[in-house]
């Protein structure tokens, strides 16, 4: 199971998930297998998307990868998650702490549940920076990552509180915090879903620019096929807890293999073609 066999041609993956399964409690003595036998890889510098509809298990998968599943005997994680070869399934709380504080930066859909409402933006970004800088130098560094995240007026923002910012700016503060630790991987779960379209586009541009400049890997989770198409090199399609298809963005969009993917694309495209009725996927649960 070690990675000796792929020594020459392929670089070692940053994230190597093999046969991951997650069982979650849904009620008294009731359980659901939210993730079934999922295998995926993220290579250094690569942008990978997981696309799926609600209930597909995409968020649970990335929660497992970032160690954010609730710690409970009722939550069962099987299989293997390796971060640079280091096994994370069953890792101690301290190991996870190390991974999350230094190696993985995270961006979520709702920035207000992540930001501390009583702390200034500047302080929250500085907290994420590696320690050991003087006050002045850490303020400079905070402003640099904020500018990298597309916050052009960083100097005006550092003294402000989250409630004083618009949704798009808050999301950029999250990007700045994620970048501040110089992580090897950024995990973004529906980063622009709650934003208005014009703002969404600019925030995606900021994210695109910053991961390109830093060479950070990106694992992006979204239900929005356009967002994945625009940002990712490689795409996994999830449906009912399983990965049904994977490939380059071009393969998935121009030449989908699985019926679910074909149906989903047909449904999305029916919004912009000149058909009378919208196409409803055969797989729709409603």
């Amino acid at each position: 199971m070690t990675s000796n066999e792929n020594s020459s041609a392929q670089p070692e993956p940053l994230i190597d998930v093999t046969d991951l399964s997650v069982t979650l409690p849904t009620g008294q003595r009731q359980f659901v297998r939210a993730v079934k036998s999922v295998s995926l890889k993220v290579y250094p510098g690569e942008r990978v998307g997981i696309v799926g509809e609600s209930g597909s298990g995409k968020s649970v998968t990335v929660r497992a990868i970032s160690g954010l599943l609730p710690e409970s005997p009722l939550v069962e994680v099987g299989g293997s998650i390796r971060f640079r070869g280091r096994e994370l399934v069953g890792a101690s709380a301290r190991d996870w702490q190390d991974i999350r504080s230094k190696r993985i930066g995270m961006i979520f859909q709702d920035p207000m549940s992540y930001l501390n409402p009583t702390m200034t933006i500047g302080r929250q970004v500085r907290e994420a920076l590696q320690r050991g800088r003087s006050e002045d130098r850490s303020m400079d560094a905070a402003m640099r990552v904020m500018e990298l995240a597309g916050l052009s007026s960083a100097a005006d923002l550092i003294g402000q509180y989250p409630f004083q910012l618009s949704g798009g700016m808050r999301q950029r503060v999250l990007i700045a915090i994620a970048l501040a630790k110089s992580p090897e991987l950024i995990v973004a779960d529906e980063p622009t879903t709650a934003l208005d379209a014009t703002i969404q586009r600019r925030v995606l541009r900021s994210l695109d620019d910053s991961v390109t400049r830093l060479g950070t890997s990106l694992l992006l989770i979204t239900h929005d096929l356009a967002v994945v198409a625009g940002l990712c090199d490689r795409v996994y399609v999830m449906f009912r807890g399983e990965i049904v298809e994977s490939g380059t963005a071009e393969q998935i969009y121009y030449n989908p293999q699985h019926d679910y993917t074909k149906d989903l694309l047909r449904s999305v495209r029916s919004f912009t073609d000149d058909s009378e009725e919208l196409y409803v996927s055969e797989y729709a649960r409603d």
């Binding site: 541009r205 649960r285 409603d286």
Partner: protein, 289 residues
């Protein structure tokens, strides 16, 4: 088609609690004129803070415009001058479907109870058998079949799309002329969104229902709307028939909105992201939006 629900020069000012550095009042809607006719798909598009939801609430009669802030009329009668019978008629003829169906449904009531309550309240049927018949009729109109199964369910036993169908059933059961839908499909997955929009289209054809459809989702508007109002900062900045608006947008803001609609194609989507400026909104406008 003759406009039934008309807002003329409507303004609404909200008074805020005193907050350092913030203006004491906010004009959410400023001189807006909008009309909706049965059988028409009228859309209001705009981003957060544009006043589109305030407009929806005003046209539903849930909040009143400012004292000198214009009027809303239904069948030519101002809402503020309606007698009890007229008001009751208005409240059954203009219905709403909102974004979050779980917030609009009482978790302790079954679908049957939710629908029967509305029927009783508006005196549409009185005997138990008639009420039950109405409930089943409404459920079958929105394709929640077999109706007997769905009538017994509680909100938590339904998917998001099914809950939205229950809300549509609750509106349709009153035989409305107009449904005001505020981001009614925004939170749904794409194929569920498609099936709900197809349902709304069918109800329009079969029952001649008119919609005031409020959304920030431009692909949806492009697909279903007949006439579009674009709102920004409380005002209508542009209005036109849908095809005209998409082919020939007159204001910079509308052009920006149209360009912001994402495309599910790798090449186009990459260009779409990379052709914008990464800069933040200016800090002044950020505090308002």
């Amino acid at each position: 088609m003759h406009a039934k629900l008309v807002a003329t020069g409507v303004s609404k000012t909200f008074h805020r609690k005193r907050m350092p550095g913030a203006a004491p009042t906010a004009k959410a809607v400023d001189g807006v004129t909008i009309s909706v006719a049965p059988g028409d798909f009228t859309a209001i598009v705009g981003e957060s803070g544009s006043g589109k939801s305030t407009m929806a609430r005003i046209m539903l009669g849930l909040i009143e415009p400012d004292h000198d802030g214009g009027t809303v009329t239904y069948d030519g009668i101002p809402l503020s001058e309606m007698n009890r019978a007229q008001s009751m008629k208005f409240r059954s003829s203009v219905q709403c479907v909102l974004q979050d169906p779980s917030a609009a449904l009482n978790p302790r009531k079954s679908v049957r109870q939710v629908l029967a309550e509305v029927v009783k309240l508006h005196g549409i049927a009185t005997t138990k058998a008639d009420i039950e018949a109405k409930v089943h009729e409404a459920l079958s109109i929105v394709d929640l079949t077999p109706t007997a199964t769905y009538a017994d369910r509680y909100p938590h036993q339904l998917s998001g799309g099914q809950r939205q169908r229950v809300l549509i059933a609750r509106a349709v059961i009153l035989n409305p002329a107009i449904i005001i839908a505020d981001e009614a499909v925004s939170a749904l997955d794409v194929s569920v969104k498609a099936s709900i929009l197809n349902l709304l289209g069918r109800l329009r054809r079969e029952l001649n229902i008119g919609y005031l459809f409020i959304t920030h989702d431009l692909p949806v508007v492009q697909k279903v709307a007949d006439y579009v109002y674009v709102m920004k900062n409380g005002q209508v900045v542009e209005e036109a028939a849908k095809d005209e608006l998409f082919a020939n947008p007159k204001t910079t803001y509308t052009r920006e909105l149209l360009a912001a609609a994402p495309l599910p194609d790798p090449k186009l989507a990459r260009d779409w992201i990379r052709s914008t400026t990464p800069q933040t909104e200016a800090i002044g406008t950020a505090l308002v939006d």
